[in-house]
Symmetry: C2
Subunit: 217 residues, 2 copies
């Protein structure tokens, strides 16, 4: 899976929106509509109606539609990274059974993607709009936090002799491709629904293939 999750560069004092009673309503409404309809199909009028505020309030707070959009994506991806981080910490901190623990980790992440519309839809939206908002691509260029977390865990497993890891980053890419990547492709990043059983099967098979390829000889 790609690393759409980065929340550095947060300057707390300089933050637009989100403050005040109406701030939460605006960003929440914008998030719902942008994730559902995309950037161009979502009008500021619709966001104002959904949030129960006037359009002028939105422009006063955010300046223009583009800034509102980027602000919402930044907030959302920050939340998503936090969720991923917590799941990773719970499963990858100390591993006893490699295959079982990696499978449970990947399954938890996968279900957190599939079950909440706010997750996989966010990735789809960022990918769709990336060419038209260079700021999104700059975010993407940062040290890749999701791959980073996984690769550090795999490096530890390599040091412990539980896996044969020569390039931890490459191994993390392969594990991601065989699990989250498969799901993203199969669902068209959320456009097509898949059953929980399918997700479970894909994740289990993906981790099994990964472990077969990286087991110590």
């Amino acid at each position: 899976m790609t690393d759409v999750l980065s929340d550095r560069d947060e300057r707390p004092g300089r933050r637009a929106g989100g403050t005040g009673p109406k701030g939460e309503a605006i960003s929440s409404a914008a998030r719902r509509l942008f994730l559902r309809d995309g950037y161009e199909r979502t009008s500021v009028d619709a966001i104002a109606a959904e949030a129960g505020v006037s359009k002028r309030t939105i422009y006063n707070r955010y300046g223009d539609k583009e800034n509102l959009f980027l602000s919402v994506l930044k907030e959302s991806s920050s939340t998503m990274l936090t969720v991923f981080d917590r799941i990773a910490e719970a499963h990858l901190a100390d591993i006893t059974d490699v295959q079982q623990d990696l499978t449970e980790f990947a399954r938890d992440v996968a279900f957190s993607l599939i079950r909440s519309p706010e997750r996989i839809e966010l990735i789809r939206l960022m990918m769709s709009e990336a060419p038209y908002f260079p700021a999104l691509l700059r975010e993407q260029m940062r040290p890749q936090t999701m791959t980073g977390i996984i690769s550090r865990a795999l490096a530890r497993l390599g040091d412990a002799g539980l896996l044969r890891i020569t390039d931890p980053t490459e191994a993390a890419d392969h594990l991601s491709a065989l699990t989250f990547g498969q799901i993203n492709n199969k669902t068209w990043f959320g456009a097509i629904q898949v059953s929980d059983a399918d997700v479970d099967r894909m994740v289990t098979a993906g981790v099994a293939t990964f472990v077969r390829a990286y087991r110590p000889s």
Copy 2:
């Protein structure tokens, strides 16, 4: 990689556009602009200007913007599947060295994706617009031709004892994920440029991991 490539259901007599001198100019201009700017950001005025025809001609031929869009995507994905099929036929017909032949196959496909803007951009566009055009999702639901081609080749390798294949479709998904899937994720489906060397490295490593996981014991 996902199977965005299907060209069945072609009813040659009933085809809109593409016929006549202006027909080619319209579909070609529409393809360029839709692939570059997406659906909503591309106006029919811009397509008419790019094609050198009047807007009325477009509406007479295609009815509305949506039909023009779907027609262009259908034509483009059909071309893309043909290209993929030819590459697969050239590399997978008879395989002697599994790792080398699979690597060359994946590399050829990958470069045909990366080098031509019409390829990977098409996948990105279809994925971006899929939720808003159910017809695109129905196309996607068809027997998956790309996975099908790969899985049949892998099944032959399994029968020949060169790989240990129990589920050919699953193996094909894993090979795709480790090669094309990795590239698509890394490039954000064409939004980010990668060097030829990076593509080569990813494909080589992906196939190596695949072969390690599926080699006969």
